[in-house]
Amino acid sequence: MENGEITLICSSGIADISTTLFSLLKSGDHAIFSKDIYGETIELISMLRNFGIDITTADFTDIETLKTLFKANTKLVYTEIMANPLTQVVDIEKISSLAHQHNCLTVVDSTFTTPFVIKPINFGADIVIHSLTKFFGGHSDVTGGSITSSKEIINKIRHSYLLLGAVLDANSSWLIHRSIKTLGLRMKAQLNNAYTLAKALKNISAVKEVYYPGLEEHPQHKLAEKILSNGYGTMISFRVEDNRDKVDQFIHSLKTVKYLGTLGGIRTTIAHPVSAFRGEFTNEELYKMGLTEGLIRISTGAEDINDLIADFTQALEVFV
């Protein structure tokens, strides 16, 4: 699906990330990571630093600055296509080409996008990883991960994969294999719903801002149009009043949609990003990152779109 040559199946998304990084980087190497990546990948960066790996983090939407960060010992560039939770989109073609000019590998965590929205290898990426726990599993009942690349690169990763024991058990492999058969159908429904829901949220007076690459006012809308297929992802974030009590009331008022610490399932779920990041950053840092009490992230499912819009509309009345 990702147009690679071989895929290794791992015990979780974070297992595929750690396996990839620990097999390709060694003490004395330098790597450049997007700053807008999954929270536990950021925690993994600290572990890599403990092993003597030099890491720079940067805003990957700023290609000019990125150009200045390469060093003689830079070996790898790491990014996601669409950032969590503010949905910034990066120009993976430019990033991969820059990495190749410096003889570096580009690793993409494409969990949020899936191959139905983008196949990063077609844009020059070398390695694509997924948390299969999300869209591939699709029913919030299995944990897994994958690493896809060329034979040559996978041969460099395979030994560590086996030694780190990051393999997926048979039952989970079977479940994900079954789920993949409906990935296209689910994605089509979820992508369509996300587009309609994002537009509907914009028309609700309690909603101050909607972050979704399919909206024309999104800062990377043109880029998203160019590189994404079949839709703009299923993740939407929106901002309401920064009032935690009202946010809790809103969550209680939702009738079908649930608050869950995961995403990509067939049922729509929400998350409260600032709660997820509170332990790791100061309030000031969170504010600077745009993570305030009123920011809510939606992972759009495959419900009837009218039911979804109705549920959000009635629950958002707590802010009126």
Partner: protein, 64 residues
Amino acid sequence: MLSENTEILYRGTEQKPNALSPETPPIYPASAYIIDDTRDYEFANNGGKYFYNRTANPNRDGLG
């Protein structure tokens, strides 16, 4: 009323209150657990309850 398409996604997902004492433990495959609100998230995140399968799972804890 929910449409049939939405109903199918939710029907049967709720806990059965009269089936809480099976003699052998149920298998918990869920990748995540429902969180009531932001305070409940804090409680869960501090180890108060299960919320993400990779972080903690009742079957693993039973075994461990």
